[in-house]
């Protein structure tokens, strides 16, 4: 096998023919810079995902310290009512196209604080539009990477003109390719015995 025949070196893998928009989407897909932002324990898993073992840098994900340079906001952790407005401000400072990943139960729905807390917002999607939801408390870095891969699919389909795909996607949720084991709770259903979930 000559050097030119090795995978990755063949001419059709080196030369890309595409419309400009498609080419831009391809570029965006491979350079999702995320905002260096975490509010609670999920942030530790986010840092872990950036560390040498999981190393999201190899997916082209480099943390940016300012929202103006970031494409992706990973909301990692508990968001209080006080913080939510700040998150919204950060999101507004990001340039389009921007994506939001809600990482962990807290950012999805208030998580362990949803029942007994006066100060925790039950779901950041009340303030910013969320593309990908990652369940878990905290989600493992694998789950985060799973979410990022799902997001990359969406970024690949992104076109400058036209409708944006806004359907919420839940990692390991009912429609996920490798999942289906994560049930989306039906909050409206009351328990027949009237018992509260974990109430004292």
């Amino acid at each position: 096998m000559t050097t030119d025949e090795r995978p990755g070196n063949r001419a059709d893998e080196q030369v890309h023919m595409a419309a400009v928009d498609e080419f831009l989407a391809w570029g965006k897909e491979h350079s999702l810079f995320y905002l260096l932002f975490a509010t609670a324990c999920c942030g530790i898993e986010l840092m872990q995902a950036g560390g040498p073992r999981y190393d999201v840098d190899r997916l082209g994900m480099i943390p940016r310290a300012t929202p103006r340079q970031a494409d992706l906001m990973i909301v990692a952790g508990t968001i209080t009512h006080k913080m939510a407005g700040r998150v919204r401000t950060l999101w507004e400072q990001m340039t389009e196209p921007r994506w939001v990943v809600s990482m962990g139960s807290c950012a999805n729905s208030g998580g362990p604080f949803s029942k007994w807390s006066y100060s925790v917002l039950n779901g950041i999607d009340k303030y910013v539009p969320v593309d990908i939801y990652i369940p878990g408390c905290p989600p493992r870095p694998e789950a985060l990477i799973d979410g990022v891969m799902a997001l990359r699919e969406r970024v690949k389909r992104y076109r400058t003109v036209g409708e944006r795909d806004r359907t919420p996607y839940i990692v390991a949720g009912p429609e996920a390719p490798f999942g289906g084991h994560c049930k989306v709770p039906d909050f409206t259903a009351k328990k027949p015995d009237g018992g509260g979930g974990g109430s004292a």
């Binding site: 009512h81 006066y118 303030y127 009351k190």
Partner: protein
């Protein structure tokens, strides 16, 4: 620290301020119950007296006596001061009872500047006002928050800035009552 030293501190304070009482908590730890009016004088005495020299305010916190199994039943807010002396390596605890209706305790930030932030926190979460504090604003909750969350009769808000607290259709059995819209 030994109980003897604690008693010595109490004796020194009681000699100056007869209205102060030495009490014991359920776990046996001694504390001084200081009348509201004497607090600043007692604090100054504890800090400046050579044999006591309480130069550090380790913590300033509070708790709500409502629904607390105390005798006689009370609904006061107790403000607690934990003092430490770096020089003598001894500690003392002060408690002041502030009636719920007119919840005011004089500031000790003149003695220990560390009290500035602690008093803001106690004001924010328990609604105790500290006359003499230079800038008594909320510190944890947003500036326009209503109510003081760690009071036991606090009513949880059901929304903040028009954003509902619970998700659509979300329902928890036995959760604390919510109401009183926070504007």
């Amino acid at each position: 620290m030994s109980a003897v030293a604690n008693d010595a501190i109490a004796t020194a304070v009681l000699a100056q301020f007869p209205a102060v009482q030495q009490k014991h908590a359920d776990n046996g730890r001694a504390f001084l119950l200081v009348p509201k009016g004497d607090l600043v004088a007692v604090a100054h005495f504890l800090r400046t007296q050579k044999s006591l020299r309480f130069d550090a305010l380790m913590d300033l916190t509070a708790y709500d006596l409502l629904k607390y199994p105390s005798t006689p039943p009370s609904d006061d807010i107790a403000v607690v001061y934990l003092l430490f002396s770096y020089q003598h390596r001894h500690k003392v605890t002060l408690k002041v009872l502030a009636p719920r209706a007119e919840c005011e305790v004089a500031t000790v930030s003149g003695e220990w500047p560390a009290a500035l932030y602690f008093e803001r926190e106690v004001f924010d979460l328990f609604g105790v006002r500290f006359p003499g504090h230079p800038s008594l604003r909320r510190i944890m909750t947003p500036d326009d928050w209503q109510g003081h969350p760690l009071r036991k009769d606090y009513l949880y808000p059901d929304s903040y800035h028009g954003v509902a607290h619970l998700r659509d259709g979300q329902h928890f059995e036995g959760s604390p009552p919510r109401g009183g819209d926070t504007p």
